[in-house]
């Protein structure tokens, strides 16, 4: 079935599959005169099990409105063994699953190792023009995910867990310093206050251009924390409107996309090869890859 469905929701949903499944040559062929990015993009990242999906459900419910429709793209890890996945984010978003104003799409991470998925940039672009006002992206919580999601979204929310001494380790490594908003989630668990005060210090050091990342405590059962988070996101959007260099943002996104396409193209070449390429010395390998880099375009 390739014709466009009479059901607009199905048409969108199929378009997303086409983009998600496209190889490099198809991805290049599908690039159309770039649609301007009008949706606001919120990225939610944090360690596995931090409560990202549960939090997104609360947030999406608060942020939708009479004329505001929300899309959620939720990425879960692909098993490196079977290449299959259990896409479990949706089930944690149960409370909004029946809401016609909220669209949820579960996405496997596939080959991507940065907490996102192949073609994330194109998937985000594809959400433009379907009546949504905002897209919330849930990344897989891996070490460096904060950096990559940073380039693709307007506001990065980092979700942290009280019980982890990890947070302190991460702070030393500087991983924490990419977020616009910090959430100490599961604040019902012991250690929340301690973590909050640690993160507060990080956030203050990060203060620049009039934005100091707020630190917000949330608990599944308490709406007040999510209301504060909702407000913090609005404040950040407001700040961003006058403090963002749009050209720099656009260029950073272009750079990320180019990196991704070339890395995947290299994987495609190596998967098609019998292994001989990898026996070359680094320089020979580089030259061979370079020669094959441009895929055969269909049209």
């Amino acid at each position: 079935m390739n014709e466009v469905s009479r059901n607009p929701r199905r048409a969108l949903s199929r378009a997303l599959s086409r983009i998600a499944n496209a190889d490099v040559s198809e991805t290049l062929a599908q690039q159309n005169a770039s649609t301007p990015a009008t949706l606001s993009r919120i990225g939610i990242t944090g360690a596995p099990g931090a409560g990202k999906s549960t939090l997104i459900a609360r947030l999406a419910h608060l942020r939708k409105g009479v004329d505001r429709k929300i899309a959620v793209l939720a990425i879960d890890p692909t098993s490196p063994v079977s290449q299959g996945s259990i896409l479990g984010d949706r089930i944690r978003m149960d409370s909004i699953a029946d809401d016609p104003d909220i669209f949820i799409r579960s996405i496997p991470s596939r080959r991507a190792h940065d907490g996102l998925t192949d073609n994330t940039a194109d998937l985000l672009n594809a959400m433009e023009g379907h009546g949504f006002d905002e897209v919330i992206l849930e990344s897989v919580g891996v070490g460096q995910a904060e950096y990559t999601i940073r380039t693709l979204v307007d506001t990065v929310v980092l979700v942290l867990l009280p019980e982890s001494g990890d947070a302190i380790q991460a702070m030393k490594a500087g991983i924490l310093e990419m977020a616009d908003i910090y959430v100490v989630n599961k604040a019902d668990l012991p250690g929340a206050e301690l973590l909050e005060s640690h993160i507060q210090q990080v956030a203050e050091r990060q203060s620049r251009n009039g934005w100091t990342p707020p630190v917000i405590c949330t608990t599944r059962s308490d709406p007040a924390g999510f209301a504060l988070l909702d407000k913090a996101i609005r404040d950040h959007a407001h700040w961003r409107a006058t403090h963002t260099d749009e050209t720099a943002v656009r260029r950073a996104r272009a750079r990320y996309q180019a990196h991704g396409l070339i890395a995947r193209r290299i994987d495609e070449i190596l998967e098609d090869d019998d292994g001989g390429l990898l026996d070359l010395d680094p320089r020979g390998l580089f030259d061979a890859l370079h020669a094959k880099l441009k895929p055969d375009m269909e049209d």
């Binding site: 059901n7 949903s13 098993s79 079977s82 299959g84 896409l87 949706r90 669209f103 949820i104 799409r105």
Partner: protein
């Protein structure tokens, strides 16, 4: 055999509260390479069809132990049709008496799996059906 790139929704319509079987199938399909989404318990056919559309799945597997399989299958088929999604393959698993199976097939189920069937056979049948 590989279900790589196939998206499958495992759904529990109706009132029974047991999803061990559904979860076992979900894991087996994942291990065979599929991307699997599970709805959770006690979902309406209308809800299941809408999730199937939003998630653009290739197949929906209904796990039904309650005995209301005839109504639930017919209703799911109707809801999928309404959403212009009749091309999504429908499988049924659970406690389905032999004498009801033909009727479910006529209603639109591509295959029916009962608890006695070895897991590998179930996965292989789904794989073959989706490859065709």
């Amino acid at each position: 055999m590989s279900l790589n790139g196939k998206r499958i929704l495992i759904a529990k319509p109706g009132l029974d509260g047991h999803d061990v079987g559904a979860k076992i199938i979900a894991l087996a399909l994942r291990d065979a390479g599929a991307d699997v989404i599970y709805t959770g318990l006690r979902r309406s056919p209308d809800y299941i069809a809408r999730v199937a559309v939003d998630e653009d799945v290739d197949a929906v597997g209904l796990s039904i132990l309650s005995g209301s399989h005839k109504e639930l299958v017919a209703e799911t088929v109707r809801c999928l049709e309404e959403l212009d999604a009749s091309d999504i393959h429908l499988f049924v698993g659970g406690t389905i008496p032999r004498e009801d199976q033909d009727e479910l097939r006529e209603a639109g189920a591509r295959a029916i799996f009962t608890a006695e069937m070895p897991l590998d056979d179930v996965v292989a049948a789904i794989d073959a059906d989706l490859a065709s």
